[in-house]
């Protein structure tokens, strides 16, 4: 196990790049904070993706340049944005109607844990007071599908993919794809299938760092970027 803990894993931008491949042309996408935020930098050429923000924006573009911030224009993470062509603004009820009504096609979120049946636990660590639920439960429940982008293990080396979540749940059975710094794993609501592994890693090694049983796809391959 110790040797696996030291073994080189994929950097965060490669994880983001792999997720970006999953976003269909013309789709409406909501990106959470952390690795998900980086996904927009890697959308393959020729595809147009429209980004939704809970702050009340469709078609979010690049961050504002320093010195050119408009104090009334922020994304869900509180970062200042540029105004771009085709942008639209709306209130919070409408921002969440887009999510809860299933109009947003894909949500990419970070997570503390994901279970074998696609349960998501990303809003709260135990013993952290009342917590910050924000829009996490709306996104987990409403979007047509959740892709989780995260590190394969936590800072103590414990698996973040587990048989049953032990942290407070955000939503049940909502995750359909997990992309980590070690693997791409499909989730059909009943179990997990290992589809791709990071360069230099074997499916058995990935399984050792995973807290749930992985079915290994017959055509399992190295990360495809």
């Amino acid at each position: 196990m110790e040797s696996l803990a030291d073994k080189e894993r994929l950097p965060r931008d490669i994880v983001a790049m792999r997720v970006a491949k999953e976003l269909p042309d013309g789709s409406y996408v909501n990106l959470g904070i952390g690795i998900p935020t980086m996904v927009s930098s890697f959308v393959p050429e020729g595809r147009t993706v429209f980004y939704h923000s809970e702050s009340g924006i469709l078609n979010c573009g690049p961050l504002a340049e320093e010195g050119n911030e408009d104090i009334d224009l922020i994304n869900a993470g509180g970062q200042y944005l540029q105004i771009i062509d085709g942008m639209s603004f709306f209130d919070s009820a409408e921002a969440f109607a887009m999510i809860r009504g299933g109009h947003v096609d894909v949500t990419v979120l970070g997570s503390h844990q994901v279970s074998a049946t696609g349960d998501l636990a990303n809003w709260m660590l135990p013993q952290r007071g009342v917590g910050n639920v924000g829009g996490a439960m709306d996104l987990a429940t409403g979007a047509s599908g959740v892709i989780v982008a995260m590190e394969h293990t936590d800072r103590n080396g414990e698996p973040k993919i587990v048989q049953e979540c032990t942290f407070p749940l955000t939503g049940k059975g909502c995750v359909y794809l997990i992309v980590t710094d070690l693997a791409v794993i499909e989730c059909d609501g009943h179990g997990l299938t290992l589809k791709e592994v990071a360069p230099g890693w074997t499916p058995e090694e990935v399984q050792q760092l995973t807290g749930a049983i992985l079915a290994i796809s017959p055509d399992v391959k190295e990360f495809e970027l």
């Binding site: 809970e54 924006i57 922020i74 709306f90 209130d91 919070s92 009820a93 969440f96 749940l169």
Partner: protein, 232 residues
């Protein structure tokens, strides 16, 4: 016609009594009614219930957290209660851990929809959001079209404090960019809606009716933010 224009922020909040529910919009730092919150802080009403996206940020700016820290709030209903960084402890978190304030955590979309329900006289709604989580515990569950939902109730306010970009004397409001967030919903969901306005309040007819975001029927009081007011 009833004059909706008040001369000062202090005049506009003078009659807010102890124990009422205050709707306080804003997303991150945008669209926060900082001047009215500062006035309510000076006015000193206590035992208030606050409805807000967050329970106050860690920075020095006036927001609902200023009233929390001053001991004016007995309860916060919000989607975010803590700072995003565990190292930064907000006044709310400290007081909650000391049992000095009560809280109800609500998913952000449910918060918005509960306000909209209150505004529209709807008695409640069913949503799948939060099903299977601890926030659904104790709520009525019902299966609709094969999917489990929970019942959520409307969230009305006694007073809404709102910040907008432009307003006319009839109370029609216009917002800029992401300033809208919870502002229109809260303006519509309160018995008394008090608005701080960034630009000079214009005569009725000077705002294009096609561009009005909140119609004057929801707006009771308007105050122009003075040049020495809180602008950021």
């Amino acid at each position: 016609m009833k004059n909706k224009i008040f001369q000062t922020m202090d005049d506009a909040v003078a009659d807010i009594p102890d124990g009422v529910t205050i709707l306080s919009p804003g997303f991150s730092g945008v669209g926060v009614p900082r001047n009215l919150l500062a006035a309510l802080n000076r006015q000193g009403a206590k035992g208030l219930t606050g409805v807000s996206n967050n329970a106050g940020t860690i920075d020095e700016n006036v927001d609902i957290g200023t009233l929390v820290e001053a001991g004016q709030m007995k309860k916060m209903i919000c989607a975010f209660t803590a700072s995003p960084h565990p190292s930064q402890v907000t006044p709310f978190t400290r007081m909650y851990n000391n049992d000095e304030i009560d809280a109800e955590l609500v998913p952000q979309g449910t918060l918005a929809e509960r306000l909209r329900c209150a505004a529209a006289g709807i008695g409640g709604f069913y949503t799948p959001t939060s099903v299977g989580t601890e926030l659904a515990e104790g709520k009525e569950h019902r299966e609709i079209n094969g999917r489990m939902h929970v019942l959520e109730h409307p969230l009305p306010g006694d007073y809404a404090l709102v910040r907008c970009w432009k307003a006319d004397t009839a109370g029609n409001l216009v917002f800029r960019l992401t300033q809208r967030n919870f502002n229109p919903l809260m303006a519509m969901a309160a018995k008394v809606t008090i608005v701080e306005v960034e630009e000079e309040i214009v005569e009725a007819g000077e705002i294009d009716p096609d561009l009005v975001h909140v119609a004057g029927i929801y707006v009771d009081r308007l105050v122009k933010i003075p040049s020495d007011g809180i602008w950021i």
